[in-house]
């Protein structure tokens, strides 16, 4: 399963998405304000893969040095591949 989060960490939508991803053993795709979840120490015990959208990361001035080591930056083409890759996609929160 892939959970997509577009809401910021300080929103209930964002928190709900993260909880679902944690409990469901899912991977995370972060976009829009959801990219702030990729900052260090924001993901708690989440253990899946973390992808974040490059355009939205750059727009918000996020630097790689402030990101969780697991966070992998992707473009829209890779996002499309993930969406069409066969896993269930849930979101966007």
């Amino acid at each position: 399963m892939i959970v997509m989060i577009k809401s910021a960490p300080d929103t209930t939508d964002g928190a709900t998405g993260l909880t679902l991803a944690k409990e469901g053993g899912a991977d995370l795709v972060l976009l829009q304000n959801g990219v702030y979840f990729a900052q260090k120490d924001r993901l708690g015990s989440f253990s899946g893969q973390v992808y974040l959208l490059d355009d939205d990361k750059r727009l918000r001035g996020l630097k790689d040095s402030e990101l969780d080591a697991r966070a992998k930056t992707i473009d829209f083409d890779k996002l499309t591949d993930l969406i069409t890759g066969g896993k269930k996609v849930v979101g966007m929160f």
Binding site: Y36, L59, G61
Partner: protein, 117 residues
């Protein structure tokens, strides 16, 4: 005394509020009104350095914030919100003042009118 205090609560780009706040701040200051732009909650992220709009189709709001400062808008960021949003002073656009909630309350109280974004 500020003629208008504009309070931005939302982080930039996810919705239109940050763009609207800086647009109206620029509009007001160009009509020689005195403007305080007050960043709280996710709004402090507007002051983050290094925003790159290349290829996205968006207006760069860091550049627009700098225009506001150049035009004479006073920009304040709430200390507690900066901590919550993990924004260090060194990561902030120069000229943005980091202030306490008490100072912000004073600015709002003194302003003739207030706009919330």
């Amino acid at each position: 005394m500020a003629t208008v205090a504009m309070i931005l609560k939302r982080s930039p780009y996810g919705d239109i509020n940050a763009a609207e706040a800086v647009r109206h701040a620029l509009g007001a200051v160009s009509f020689e009104m005195s403007v305080d732009l007050i960043l709280v909650d996710g709004g402090v992220l507007l002051a983050k350095k290094g925003q790159d709009d290349t290829g996205t189709g968006f207006t760069n709001l860091e550049a627009t914030l700098k225009d506001c400062l150049d035009m004479g808008v006073s920009v304040y960021a709430d200390d507690d919100s900066l901590k919550a949003q993990r924004l260090d002073r060194g990561d902030m656009v120069e000229g943005v003042k980091s202030v306490s909630a008490q100072v912000i309350a004073g600015l709002v109280k003194e302003a003739r009118s207030t706009m919330l974004f």
